[in-house]
Symmetry: C2
Subunit: 248 residues, 2 copies
């Protein structure tokens, strides 16, 4: 399947803007974003969106779909750094370093708004509010990473897994990908392993524990949280009262 490239969604009519969690843009911002956006790209599940060590001229916002950022050691051991949902901005690091230091891969078919790397600067010059939004998103990503780091460094396998499921559920829910404490799972257990820093075999056993304790069910690519409170206890979960966020 070949990737399509076309401008399809007008920023002004972006479906994401109607969502609760996104801060509405004013007229001027909309105008700048519209100009900033140079195209739209749809890729299939499993496609590489951004590749480590590459110097692409493009930055992206996810319009629809589910992706993940990851990074590997030379011998192949892989670590998933974070997952990415609609509204998430990809490739900001290209504003810093000439090349990517991690890879981004699509989990589902994913539609992306495409921006030109060179024009980031003109956004800063022309619209401080949007520039601020970019910074906001970078800082937000940092917070998520802090949380992951704490989790991977200090939680046990069972705690990490419980935490990750809650985390993914909450982020999925925020963009309408989850409801009634359930969501469709676009990943394999292998992805959980690489996210938690444990083995696939151990992941399987750990998932099993959550099932046995009747905290969740996981059937046919769908996870249902049965006992949110119980799961939060296992996870040592602390909600991070997310506020409305910017969308570019």
């Amino acid at each position: 399947m070949s990737d399509r490239l076309a401008i399809q969604t007008k920023c002004r009519k972006c479906p994401l803007r109607d969502m609760e969690i996104f801060r509405p843009l004013d007229e001027k911002e909309l105008k700048v974003v519209s100009e900033f956006k140079t195209g739209e790209l749809t890729v299939g599940a499993g496609a590489t969106i951004l590749l480590e060590e590459n110097k692409t001229p493009h930055l992206y916002t996810i319009l629809d779909g589910w992706a993940f950022r990851h990074k590997s050691l030379v011998d192949g051991r892989r670590q998933i750094l974070n997952f990415a949902f609609p509204g998430d901005f990809l490739g900001l690091q290209l504003a810093v370093s000439s090349e990517m230091q991690h890879t981004v891969t699509a989990l589902t078919q994913t539609t992306l708004c495409v921006f030109q790397r060179d024009e980031v600067w003109s956004v800063f010059k022309n619209n401080p509010k949007l520039a601020y939004s970019l910074t906001w998103m970078a800082a937000r990503e940092e917070q998520l990473l802090d949380g992951q780091l704490l989790s991977i460094g200090r939680r046990t396998a069972l705690e990490k897994l419980a935490y990750l499921i809650l985390h993914l559920h909450d982020r999925a829910e925020a963009v309408g990908y989850a409801g009634n404490l359930a969501f469709d799972v676009p990943f394999k257990q292998e992805h959980l392993s690489d996210s938690l820093g444990i083995t696939p075999v151990h992941t399987s056993r750990t998932v099993r524990k959550l099932l046995e304790r009747n905290l969740i069910t996981w059937v046919r690519d769908r996870i249902q949280i049965l006992d949110r409170e119980g799961l939060e206890q296992v996870a040592l979960y602390e909600s991070d009262h997310e506020t409305r966020r910017p969308l570019i």
Copy 2:
């Protein structure tokens, strides 16, 4: 000992600006930074600079000293997220969330440039170049966290430790805190443990291994790298060709 608060270092004469790694500011930027900076604060080793769940009105740049960011689970398990050196900006997350979600603690006596949180916005409005620098720093921090995450998730204890020592050395060296492959260590093994996500006991044994293999020495609060190449091999190290960076 009480903290002192006074404007002592003129931005224009900031000693950090002479360092190789920092990008020089132009006249206009210097003017804005000077106005942005509202004071200078020196705290002793062990002092808390920013506290989780607090809503302080201040942001900081480290002028001199060595600090660390950390975060804990409710039961006390602690994870060190990153270390901070001169030129590093602290508290950017306050631009995003109303309160801090991690704590920053000084390892040595530390001198900080103090900025007002409310005025971040005016920096964005008045000087896009500086705004861009802030974003740059946020993205850079994200890269460091990505690296840590990979390390903690996928490296063995020995590999993590070797990696961390190289990482700290390189960052220390960049700001003149290391030379001839050696640097003064302001932390205890306990800090390494909390950074690597392992036990103090195991940290001790792991440090010992590096010593036995003649990769480093560690005497009287000073680490000397004896065999950089060997250490890099153990660490599966990949240097990240750092470029010049902004300083605010």
